[in-house]
Every structure is written in C-alpha cells, then in structure tokens.
C-alpha cells in the first residue's frame, strides 16, 4: 500500500502519487512529438513547445491499487526561467485506448485548489488539475497517460508526478480503525500506570 503523504501548505489534504513519470515506472513512447529527456525523477522539456505537441507512454507501471481516488488532482512540476503559464491537458486512456479521463491545468501553482509549494523558480510545485471528463473510480484503469500542450511558448519544465487525493478504501479504513483502537488501548494502559 502506498502511504499518503501530507502536502506542504495543505494540512487537511493528503495526496498519493498516481503515476510517477520517472523512467522507472513510465516509458515514453518514442513517437511522442515533443522534445524531451527523461530520467528517474521525471520528464524534462527545455524547449519551445507548440499546441498539440505531447508525450505519452508505451508502457507504465501503474501505482493505482487499494485506493479510491478523489479530486483534486495535481501535476507535480518544476519550472526554471520565465514561466509562460502554458495550458496543458492530461488524457488518461485504458488499455484499449479509450479515453477515460481528461484533466486540464497550467504551468502555474494554484493555491485555490489544495495548496502545494508555490511555484517559485526552480522549486517543485503542484499545478491544480481541472477534470473535464471522467469519473474518479475509472481512473484505476489507466494504462496510458498523455500530456499535451494546449499553448505554445518557450519553457524549461520538468514534470514528475501525477497525483491525487488519497481516500482509503473500506478495508483500509478497517485497518486504520483497528490501529486506532489499539492506540487508544495503549494510551489507556499508560494512564493507568501513571
């Protein structure tokens, strides 16, 4: 089970990495038409991009299991130099290439939708994603994730994670509940000893 980590500046929200975009778990299809490089921590595009250019995977190891996924969603990225505030779209498809979710965002930190680290130059931040189509449960069938630019411009960017809010499934809630009971018992015993 992937552990949900608290996001900085978003105390009430925890997030889960839905798909790491490093080359360990996400293999970019070489027919992708945006200029990119990839390492274990993500995909870098230090280039001028045009609307319609995109990258997508030929294979990936999904990190989706044991969790139900709720919005908000984010794309973790890092911008260096001038941020042209470009819009982009994430298209999520199943193994038969059917589109099961479409989300849009910009290369800008949005504090209104869950927080994240502010998008200062060279600092990782979370760009809020808006769901255009798709229902959260079906996201578990993601086999392909495509990021396409919807505007053009020069950009130095690195995208590293597609992330969402983590909501434990009922079985996980049960485990958490058992843990809570055990913890309360431990506290009670300590109080009696005191």
């Amino acid at each position: 089970m992937t552990v949900a980590l608290p996001k900085a500046n978003a105390a009430a929200i925890s997030y889960q990495v839905l798909q790491d975009l490093g080359n360990v778990k996400y293999t970019v299809d070489t027919q992708s038409d945006v200029t990119y490089s990839q390492d274990s921590s993500g995909i870098t595009m230090n280039t001028t991009v045009a609307a319609g250019q995109s990258f997508y995977n030929s294979s990936m190891t999904s990190e989706l299991s044991n969790w139900s996924l709720n919005s908000p969603y984010w794309l973790k990225m890092n911008i260096t130099g001038t941020n042209p505030n470009l819009p982009f779209t994430l298209t999520l498809s199943d193994s038969s290439f059917n589109t099961i979710g479409v989300l849009t965002g910009t290369t800008t930190w949005d504090s209104s939708n869950g927080g994240g680290v502010a998008g200062s130059t060279g600092v990782d931040f979370y760009s809020a994603l808006t769901i255009v189509t798709g229902a959260a449960p079906s996201f578990q069938n993601i086999a392909y994730l495509q990021m396409g630019w919807d505007g053009g411009g020069a950009i130095n960017s690195k995208v590293s994670q597609f992330a969402g809010t983590a909501v434990p499934e009922p079985s996980t809630y049960a485990l958490l509940g058992m843990g809570a009971v055990a913890l309360s018992g431990y506290v009670v015993r300590r109080r009696r000893r005191a």
Binding site: Q31, S32, Y56, T91, F97, Q146, G148, D150, G151
Partner: protein
C-alpha cells in the same frame, strides 16, 4: 466531401445572387459559390504552419426539414415537432451535421449535432429523433442554449459538416503527406475547448487512416471540422496544397464562444477577406488589452510563408510584436484562414464573439 482538388489558384469568389423579384412576390435562394484556400508548403525537412479553416457552409438534402422553426428548447436540445427527421440520420459518426440558429437573440450560433457513437473521433451523445436533436457535449460545455437566448419561434438551418477524412482525404486524393509517424507526415492540430490534439494520416495503419497522436494512434477519421473553428495545418512536404471549396455563403451574423482563458483557434469563416480589427475580438467580454503581450491577450496569424506574427490590443489599436510595435488594425485575415487566440489568466467559461455579415447580399 465538398471540395475539389485543384492546381489552379482561383482568386475570385463566385456568388449566385438572389433570384429576380417582381412587384408582387420576392423569391430568394441562398447564395452559393466557391473559394480556393491554400496550405503553405513545408521545406521537405521542416514543417511550416497554416492556420486553416473550411469556408462556406455545406447545404445538404436530408429527410425532414433542413430549415424550420424551433418548437422547444432545453439546455442542449432543439426541438421541432414538425421536423420529420429520420431518427439517427443526423447523428451518424462519419457524416456529422451542424445546426445554425438563423433568427432571434442567438442568431448566428452554430452547434455540432451529437453523434450516436464515438466511432473514430466522433463526439458521442444522444442520437437525433424525428423531432429532437442534441448538440454535442463540447458545444454544450460552452453554453446553455436557453441561457444564450435560443427560443421557441427561432429559425434554424442544418448543414453538413466535414471531417478530417472527408475534407483532407488521403495522399492520393488531395496530396496531403502521410507517414508512419507524425514526425514524417503533415499534421493537423485541432483545439476543442482549449485542448489541442494532433492528428496525421498514418500510412502504416491497416487500413491507412487519419490517426490521433497518442497511445494506440487511434482512428480519428471522423473528427469534425466545424466551420466556426480553425485548425493548425503543419505541412512537411515542399509543395503547397490548395482546395477548391464549394458551398453556401453565410447570410446571417456570426456568434461563437471564445474560451475565457487558454486557446481557441477561431475560423475566419467569411468568404471574403477581413481585417484584424474587424474580427471584433477586442469587443469580447473580458478581452484583456494592455501595453504588451506580457499582459494582454494575443492573436497569432501566419503569413503565406508560414511565418507567425503575434498581435495584441492595447486599448486603442491592434499592435504587432516586433520593432516599433506597428499598428496592425488593417492587417488582412484571408479567406479560409484562422487565428490562434490565447487568453491569459485562469477565468473559466466562455464569452461570446459576434460579427456582422461583412458583405451586402441585396445588391
């Protein structure tokens, strides 16, 4: 398909003028004509861009009333109890239609009719019945029909709508350059509600077809080329393309949605050249004027050499980026072209652009 491939450059527009009248009655017919539109040549090794749109409207005989009076309307449906349409006939994925509102507050609005299935890139929704048609979800996401004033008693007209395959055809039929990869072929970017998607003619698909750049290179033959939006055509081949397009001349004003933030590729639409100022973008609610492109909304045009120019409105004039920021109000926007609009900010939703008919059909 309503275009003919031609190696000739036909510079004129042919109108069939309204029919003659007499003292008692006046009979008119919709003016029809043809225009030639072009795609700039690439270099053979590098692509050059053309912002392109399909001019003229495509009249087509259908079962039932192709034009009529609206008897009911909801947020995304138009009803004509006298229509007599053939159920599903206006919703076939490979042969889409658009409906244009021709009178009333929303006159000039056009909507893609929803397809019955999402086959090959068609936009699925509820198929038409004998008296009701549903507008596509992408158009319904822009506006609520009742909110923009579509009302009982308004008139409408239905036109055929081209698709990637019906208009751009194949390498053999139109001269487009196909390839095994998007990098090796001409490519087309379609921007729908801000989302840009790239397509190309994939020659190693079985059978060869228009495909979407992305996992699986899915069949996209039925992606609609609506007359109110444009596309970016990136030509790799070192020969220009030209298309002779026939159809009906628009006779009513135009109204369309501009995305409040992000990109819209807007068709020039009219079968006559216009100017940047006369596009009337500066009057769109929320249009951001400013001292430079750093703060103002922008418009990109391409010249016939495939070179882009970026323009913005400073509150008084349209200006072009570059030395001296020259006033560009009268820069021509030609027939069959399109403009790439980029609106800044994060505002959601859409705002209406209205344009009057830029010619007089009564002379």
């Amino acid at each position: 398909m309503k275009h003919l491939r031609s190696s000739l450059i036909v510079a004129s527009l042919a109108f069939a003028l309204p029919a003659a009248s007499n003292a008692q009655t006046t009979a008119t017919t919709d003016p029809v004509g043809f225009v030639t539109v072009g795609i700039t040549a690439g270099t053979g090794t590098a692509k050059k861009n053309t912002l392109f749109s399909v001019p003229l409207l495509e009249s087509e005989t259908i079962t039932g009333q192709v034009a009529g009076t609206i008897t009911g309307v909801t947020s995304n449906t138009i009803v004509n109890t006298n229509a007599g349409w053939s159920p599903g006939a206006l919703s076939a994925p490979a042969t889409p239609y658009i409906v244009q509102i021709t009178t009333g507050t929303a006159a000039g609005r056009q909507f893609l009719v929803a397809s019955s299935a999402n086959t090959a890139g068609a936009i699925a929704g509820t198929a038409n019945t004998a008296d009701t048609l549903t507008v596509s979800s992408v158009d319904a996401a822009q506006v609520n029909l009742t909110n923009i004033g579509v009302a009982v008693g308004n008139q409408y007209k239905i036109y055929a709508c081209d698709t990637l395959s019906s208009f751009f055809g194949t390498p053999a039929t139109t001269g487009i350059l196909g390839g095994a990869t998007v990098a090796a072929a001409d490519s087309i970017v379609v921007q729908v509600n801000g989302t840009a998607t790239t397509y190309w003619y994939k020659t190693d698909a079985v059978p060869p077809r228009w495909s979407k750049s992305g996992a699986g290179s899915v069949d996209s033959s039925n992606v609609a080329l609506v007359p109110y939006n444009g596309v970016t055509y990136s030509r790799l081949s070192n020969t220009a393309l030209s298309f002779v397009v026939t159809g009906q001349v628009p006779t009513v004003e135009r109204e369309m949605s501009i995305k409040n933030s992000g990109g819209t590729i807007m068709a020039q639409f009219w079968p006559t050249a216009t100017t940047l100022s006369n596009l009337n973008l500066q009057s769109v609610a929320g249009w951001t004027a400013g001292a430079s492109t750093a703060v103002a909304d922008t418009v990109v045009l391409y010249n016939t050499n495939g070179t882009a120019g970026t323009y913005w409105y400073n509150g008084t004039n349209w200006r072009k980026t570059g030395a001296g920021s020259p006033i560009s109000d009268t820069v021509a926007v030609d027939i069959g072209t399109a403009v790439q609009i980029s609106k800044k900010g994060t505002a959601t939703g859409y705002s209406a652009l209205t344009q009057s008919v830029p010619y007089n059909l009564n002379n």
